[in-house]
């Protein structure tokens, strides 16, 4: 396993561009970059430029991971570049992206099912609660679209790895992989997103482990608010995610897995009003939308929230409001770098403690 960072969210990614971001990541002690779509690296799929990125990664001894885009036909209209790159034919667009990725030896490719809707607070931020098309219909359409891509993936030796994105459960992902075929699909395990589906990250890790081929290593605060809970990104180790329990599960299933830290973006890179992320875990409509959730896991989740509340009450962890206020002013380049370094230290420390197969450049 190697520790790297998200290629889109590493500070100054847009300003520096992919090649310089590789150098930047290396300066920060990272051993790889994960650009979630190949179009992030080259919006025109410029083969020469993509090869240059690959060469730079190789020269630095870093891993390079990337991906494709949304594969839910009800979400792809929100990403018109996917159709554009196929000159109007989205399947052709995916073929071109997949060929471009294979050409630079990237064959583990991120895909995802929807976009988080930051304009809304509560369940409508998640497309599983769309009222025009049900979530099961979206899942079926996703499986059908993935099946259209299967021959291309098989031909190129590619896995299309579905992320445990905010809107989807690990139960559904495992079923999708098993429906479309584990020879051409896999899972990008985002360690914190599952919290938004009331899944305990350790329980989710056990479910997805056999299929995890890429990761977003991420941590978050979860705190009670009314009868729901709020979600807020935190450096690894400062949130609720128990990496000490999760990393051995992942390492056992896939000892060469790359651990890509997905940091919070600096406010210098992306000025914004941080959305209030509310998970309505006691709302009957929300619960009705989670038929796979069990009493046991729900209870384990609430215990995790309870234990974490103790860390907040004890002063070890900053609460939601004060962290949000601090971040708005302070979370610029230096703090964003610190966030990555702290996260990496936490992950590295656990790997060393538990003697997990961690490779490090120069180590």
């Amino acid at each position: 396993m190697r520790i790297g960072v998200d290629g889109r969210k590493i500070p100054e990614a847009a300003r520096r561009g992919p090649v310089a971001s590789l150098d930047h990541a290396r300066q920060l002690g990272m051993d790889g970059l994960f650009f979630r779509t190949v179009l992030d690296m080259s919006p025109t799929l410029d083969a020469g430029y993509l090869a240059e990125i690959r060469q730079r990664a190789d020269a630095l001894g870093m891993y390079l991971e990337t991906g494709l885009g949304k594969v839910n036909p009800f979400s792809t209209p929100e990403a018109p570049e996917l159709r554009l790159i196929g000159d109007g034919d989205i399947v052709l667009g995916f073929r071109r992206m997949m060929e471009a990725c294979a050409a630079i030896c990237c064959r583990e490719l991120w895909v995802a099912t929807a976009n988080y809707k930051a304009a809304y607070t509560g369940r409508f931020a998640y497309d599983r609660f769309r009222t025009d098309v049900s979530w099961p219909e979206q899942l079926e359409a996703t499986a059908r679209f993935l099946k259209k891509l299967v021959p291309i993936a098989r031909d190129l030796g590619i896995h299309m790895n579905l992320e445990t994105h905010e809107e989807i459960t690990s139960f559904e992902l495992v079923r999708l992989v098993e429906t479309v075929g584990p020879d051409v699909t896999g899972i990008v395990f985002d360690t914190a997103n599952v919290l938004q589906r009331a899944e305990h990250p350790v329980w989710a890790a056990r479910r997805v482990a056999p299929y995890v081929r890429q990761t977003h290593i991420k941590d978050a605060l979860i705190a009670r608010e009314g009868d729901g809970v709020t979600f807020q990104l935190r450096p690894c180790g400062d949130g609720v995610v128990d990496f000490r329990a999760i990393l051995p599960i992942l390492a056992k299933a896939n000892p060469t897995l790359n651990l890509s830290i997905e940091p919070d973006e600096s406010f210098a890179d992306r000025p914004r009003v941080s959305p209030r992320m509310l998970i309505e875990i006691a709302d009957p409509a929300w619960l009705a939308g989670h038929p796979d959730l069990t009493v046991e896991e729900y209870a384990a989740y609430m215990k995790m929230v309870h234990d974490y509340a103790g860390r907040i009450a004890g002063g070890e962890i900053r609460d939601h409001a004060s962290y949000a206020a601090w971040a708005l002013d302070a979370f610029l380049y230096d703090e964003a770098v610190l966030y990555i370094r702290r996260s990496a230290e936490h992950i590295r420390g656990i790997c060393k403690d538990l003697a997990l197969p961690l490779e490090e450049i120069g180590a």
Binding site: R224, D227, P284, L287, T294, V295, A299, M302, K303
Partner: protein, 312 residues
């Protein structure tokens, strides 16, 4: 009709007759004895008739319990077994007939206590099966005498389990004494649990409770009527015909749902219901509700004042 449980209010007098006067003085019109034996330990027909006559003269309805029915716990039924010369069923039938003679046709009973659910002697499902079997055997007697036994929704039992017992034994001879604060102890939402039992409810026990995050999960906190989370208008609307009895609880119970063993002992629990009960904790201010479990007397005034505001 609104009455009060005799046993838990020490303000009331000592003899049944004095208690009847006290009930009237409180503006109530019913007195509920924990057991018929509290009216007369020997079930003396003359003594019972005298109390009944006094109650009638005052316009106070009498009712009473039939004690514990659980073949695995004979020690709790020793008094009743003695009435039957060592035969519990014979003793129980004597007690029920003595009550029947003074108009007590819907006596309530308990099946167990919280610890019974987690006991291996025998396991709770076996206790439920044995109790169901006993009640099924008693059903013809009950039917013959027009008696309907009311299973109290006590802290150890769920609404699902009571519904199954009634389905097995017969809804013409078994009903429900609904005590909603106890559903919380089993992680059941009081309103939903009431919905599950609604058509069987003959008697309702009035009290209030809140839920707090505490210990290894949640804690039920008994509180002054009107300050807790029990949806009384909603519950009473589901059982408009049921008699109402003030019953101020003392038991302190935790719901340690972080404990996998505790959860395994709740096989009927759903995520939706657990979530609803956890959600009730969000409606309980940390400081606003003060626990009065140890001192039920301070709760009498709030509940008496609230009665007029409850739906008819």
């Amino acid at each position: 009709m609104t009455g009060i449980l005799r046993g838990n209010v020490a303000l009331l007098g000592r003899s049944p007759e004095e208690d009847l006067e006290q009930v009237r003085a409180l503006g109530l019109d019913g007195l509920l004895f924990s057991t018929v034996l509290d009216l007369s330990p020997t079930l003396d027909p003359d003594a019972l008739a005298a109390i009944k006559a006094r109650a009638d003269a005052l316009g106070v309805r009498l009712s009473a319990g039939a004690g514990w029915i659980n073949p695995a716990r004979p020690e709790r039924a020793a008094e009743i077994a003695a009435l039957g010369g060592g035969d519990f069923r014979a003793g129980l039938e004597r007690l029920l007939l003595a009550g029947r003679a003074i108009g007590i046709t819907t006596p309530f009973f308990y099946i167990g206590v919280n610890e019974d659910r987690f006991s291996d002697d025998p396991p709770w499902p076996v206790q439920l099966a044995q109790t169901t079997e006993f009640l099924a055997g008693l059903a013809p007697f009950l039917r013959r005498h027009g008696i309907v036994l009311l299973a109290k929704t006590h802290e150890e039992i769920t609404s699902f389990e009571i519904a199954r017992i009634i389905a097995a034994v017969g809804e013409d001879v078994l009903g429900v004494a609904l005590d909603p604060v106890n559903f919380l102890v089993r992680g059941e939402d009081p309103l939903r649990a009431t919905e599950r039992l609604a058509r069987h409810i003959r008697q309702v026990h009035l009290d209030d409770a809140a839920v707090r995050h505490a210990g290894n999960g949640l804690r039920r906190v008994i509180c002054p009527f009107g300050t807790g989370v029990i949806d009384w208008p909603g519950i009473l609307a589901l059982a408009p015909e049921a008699s109402r009895w003030i019953d101020m609880h003392r038991g302190e119970f935790d719901m340690p749902y972080f404990d996998a063993g505790w959860l395994r002992a709740q096989p009927d629990m759903t995520v939706a219901e657990l979530a609803a009960v956890i959600g009730l904790a969000a409606r309980t201010p940390d400081e606003g509700v003060h626990s009065v479990q140890a001192d039920p007397h301070t709760r009498l005034s709030p509940i008496l004042e609230s009665l007029g505001r409850l739906p008819a």
